[in-house]
């Protein structure tokens, strides 16, 4: 019985970006950290804030606001870095705050509408309505797409 329930639900970590709630599957999340010293890495896109020392592992961090072209804000005591791991790529996502883990019934997930919370549809895997909350589920594969990064780099190189 329990296993059936597990199958039909998606456990997600919920975080906030400029008053919107987002979710990433808990399987893809390694840990949630406070913001610590970030070493800037030159010649990378703006949204790559640099690298942090995550218990001896050099981990790149990305500002999600900047990644989604939302205006950036100063980091506060609520700011969190969500360490995610997708396809052998590990990275930290800087978000406004992260404080919830919830189960979403699989049936509640709908395909993304054309525009959701200002984030381009390709980064979104689905939307879930829970009571009065609207949760945007991110497609981390796309968010951490390094192909796109290479293109960016080439554009920079040509400038």
């Amino acid at each position: 019985m329990e296993s059936a329930a597990v199958k039909n639900e998606v456990k997600v970590i919920v975080f906030e970006l400029k008053d919107e709630e987002y979710g990433v599957p808990v399987e893809q999340v390694r840990s949630i950290e406070r913001v610590q010293h970030i070493t800037r890495v030159p010649k990378t896109p703006d949204f790559v804030k640099g690298v942090i020392n995550l218990r001896g592992v050099v981990t790149p961090v990305i500002d999600l606001r900047s990644r989604f072209e939302i205006e950036e804000e100063e980091y506060s005591s609520h700011t969190r870095v969500i360490i995610v791991s997708v396809n052998d790529t590990e990275a930290g996502l800087i978000v406004d705050t992260a404080n919830d883990v919830i189960d979403i019934p699989a049936g509640e997930i709908e395909p993304p509408p054309e525009v959701a919370g200002g984030v381009e549809a390709e980064y979104i895997y689905g939307v879930a309505k829970l009571d009065k909350r609207l949760l945007i589920l991110l497609n981390l594969d796309k968010v951490l797409n390094t192909e796109e990064m290479k293109e960016l780099k080439q554009i920079e190189a040509h400038q």
């Binding site: 890495v41 010649k43 790149p60 790529t89």
Partner: protein
């Protein structure tokens, strides 16, 4: 399941044997009549066959078996070591290698070997070889039983027999044959043992007791019993057990037993006969003799899985980071006791570091030993003649480097053969030996390992290089005149220089020396070339001894800390504003009579400016190959051993940054890649 346990060992040993076969075949090509070489190959083939059979790789077994027959023919003088035959031998070794490769990649080691086997068979039959295959086949099936029951005793067993004789016991060799239709062989064996142990002590069984228990024998086995009972009593006690076909009991006296040493001594004059005997020996004794031989030379070494060494290295890297942290704390706290302890710890960990690094060192031989074979077949393919001389193959390199250096070296050797060495007729015209010489040399110097690939070929044709570079757009027309000879040679390494204009199998398939250069530079090394017309060309590869812990200079650029590997630094200096000159809109300085470009790293890395401009500049003079430049920083922090860490997959290709390291304060500093800075 049980098989997996031995699979690694099987792969390792197979590779060793295949390598040995290759090496010996090559030597055989030079000295066709050398029987001892044949014997070496035979031994390797034989062991390989046995192992393959045990592990159930039957294609491998079949082919080695056929190889053995041919070798046997050569040994008995029925076959000649013609070039054709050797080619076929090499081909079969290639097949064997492919199968072993497949096995190590997780495959079944299956391969269509019928063709080569048929070809080998034809050779064999063409020579009218007798086929003494029955025994060999049986042996190969891993359930081998010796036809003639020769049993070999080691020193310990001999002593036991000798002592029991003194006490009035007798040693009996009992050859027992079970009935053909016996179903539970192991059970019968057990009963035989039980019966025998009532009257005496079994000191040896062949096949071994384990193998007997697993029914790994056909119908007969041999035991040696020390007993006071008479032969007849023993015999009848065995025959009382049902399903026993026969039991032959013979007395043995220590004086008459063939010991291993005798056997080895015999082997020298009468190789072929003894090899036959070894063929028929049960595996257990073959193993023990092999083990003994190995014990003499290698009882002080152990095989350690490379993963464990990697783990050790990783842990040690953590320690180095903490050491840095401790050093910093002790400096800040001014506590002399703490400082002393930390200093001691630094010394100890320094020693530890060199030991761990040494553990990971392997001789260059591991990569080099496949080259003679490669050069030989390549020369044939190109209709050229070449001799490869290898020296310094015992030079040691970090395991990581060894794994990576193979391909670039293959490329350089191919290059020498294809472009360097001339055709035999041209060589004779030029007054050289018909066969070209290629030298592969490795040596240590300072903190680096050097590997040289040189040939006595035609040398690099400067005009042709320029022509090609122009054609492929690597340089502009205007540049041609101003380039020095070295700079022209460097063009060979430029990307886009080599194009697939003429696709030969050997080199020139679009990937050129630039790939070699990139690979070597990614290992933190460099490659350079010297050449003299008609005299030859020499490529020199310089590699760091290790890849993971590098001495470096920490510097501050504004408020950010960066590390510059010491290997590229010539010196540091403080210069005044008025020392800076301008040439072609590029800032330059005069460095020991040479004008070198000045590069401000603040601008280069877009570092936010925070420090006030001063009229004194801190510069680090770096050199990569022939290029020298001065990098402007804000402050020198000091020299430190740093642990190289990657920036992770997400930031896999940041320009001018080769990685990162964790400093004593837990923060990350980026490591500057001087190679890539200099290219701009």
């Amino acid at each position: 399941m049980e098989k997996n346990q031995y699979l690694d060992m099987f792969i390792e040993e197979s590779k060793e044997h295949l390598q040995a076969m290759n090496t010996h075949f090559l030597k055989l090509e030079e000295e066709p009549g050398n029987i001892s070489l044949i014997n070496e190959v035979f031994r390797s083939a034989h062991t390989l066959k046995g192992m393959a059979a045990t592990m159930g790789f039957y294609d491998l077994e079949k082919l080695t078996h056929q190889l053995e027959n041919i070798l046997d023919g050569i040994r008995n003088g029925v076959l000649n070591t013609s070039a054709e035959l050797l080619d076929m031998m090499f081909e079969s070794v290639d097949d064997l290698e492919a199968m072993v490769e497949d096995i190590s990649a997780g495959g079944e080691g299956k391969r269509n070997v019928t063709e080569i086997i048929a070809a080998l068979k034809k050779l064999e039959e063409g020579a009218g070889l007798p086929s003494p295959q029955s025994t060999a086949l049986q042996e190969a099936a891993s359930t081998a039983v010796p036809e003639e029951q020769t049993i070999i005793l080691d020193d310990f067993e001999l002593t036991v027999i000798a002592q029991s004789e003194e006490q009035g016991f007798e040693a009996l060799q009992i050859d027992i044959t079970l009935q053909e239709n016996c179903v539970l062989k192991a059970a019968r064996v057990f009963m035989v043992f039980e019966a025998l142990e009532k009257s005496g002590e079994i000191i040896k069984a062949s096949p071994s007791v384990d193998e007997l228990e697993e029914e790994k024998f056909e119908n007969s086995f041999t035991v040696i019993l020390v007993t006071k009972s008479s032969s007849e009593e023993v015999k009848s006690s065995i025959l009382n057990i049902s399903e026993i076909e026969s039991a032959e009991v013979t007395k043995i006296f220590t004086g008459k037993i063939q010991t291993e040493e005798d056997k080895n001594a015999d082997k020298e004059p009468e190789n072929s006969v003894d090899e036959e005997m070894e063929n028929d020996l049960p595996r257990s004794s073959e193993d023990s003799s092999r083990r003994q031989a190995r014990a003499q030379s290698a009882n002080k070494t152990i095989r350690v899985n490379i993963d464990r060494l990697d783990t050790l290295m990783n842990l040690f890297e953590e320690l180095v980071i903490d050491r840095g942290r401790l050093e910093q704390i002790s400096r800040e706290s001014n506590n002399s006791e703490l400082t002393e302890t930390v200093e001691h710890m630094t010394r100890v960990s320094g020693d530890l570091q060199s030991i761990i690094l040494n553990l990971r060192m392997v001789p260059a031989e591991q990569v080099f030993n496949r080259f003679p074979r490669m050069v030989r077949s390549l020369a044939k393919e190109l209709n050229k003649k070449a001799v490869l001389t290898i020296s310094g193959e015992d030079t040691e390199l970090d395991r990581n480097v060894i794994d990576e250096i193979g391909d670039p070296l293959v490329h350089l050797l191919r290059n020498s053969l294809d472009h360097g060495i001339e055709r035999p007729e041209d060589r004779i015209k030029a007054g050289k030996d018909e066969a070209g010489k290629i030298n592969l040399l490795a040596y240590h110097s300072g903190n680096h390992v050097f590997i040289e690939v040189s040939d006595d070929g035609a040398g690099i044709n400067k005009e042709k290089v320029l022509e090609k570079a122009l054609k492929n757009g690597v340089i502009n027309k205007g540049d041609t005149g101003s380039l020095s000879e070295t700079e022209v040679f460097e063009l060979l390494f430029a990307s886009g220089f080599s194009t697939a204009e003429k696709v030969s199998n050997v080199s020139g398939r679009g990937v050129g020396l630039d790939v070699v250069k990139n690979k070597i530079e990614s290992l933190g090394g460099s490659v350079s070339v010297e050449s003299e017309k008609n005299k030859g060309t020499k490529f020199t590869v310089r590699l760091p001894l290790t890849l993971s812990i590098i001495p470096s200079l920490l510097v501050k650029i504004q408020e950010e800390t960066f590390a510059i590997p010491l290997s590229s630094i010539i010196e540091t200096a403080i210069i005044k504003d008025e020392d800076i000159l301008s040439a072609h809109k590029q800032k330059v300085i005069d460095f020991r009579g040479k004008v070198i470009p000045l590069l401000d790293l603040t601008g280069y890395f877009d570092v936010p400016v925070s420090a006030e401009a001063s009229n004194h500049l801190h510069v680090v003079i770096v050199r990569v190959q022939q290029k020298i430049a001065a990098l402007v920083v804000n402050q020198f922090i000091g020299q430190q051993e740093i642990v190289l860490k990657s920036l992770g997959n997400y930031l896999s290709a940041v320009p001018a940054i080769s990685g990162a390291t964790i400093l004593g304060n837990g923060q990350i500093a980026l490591i500057i890649d001087c190679n890539s800075i200099m290219q701009h």
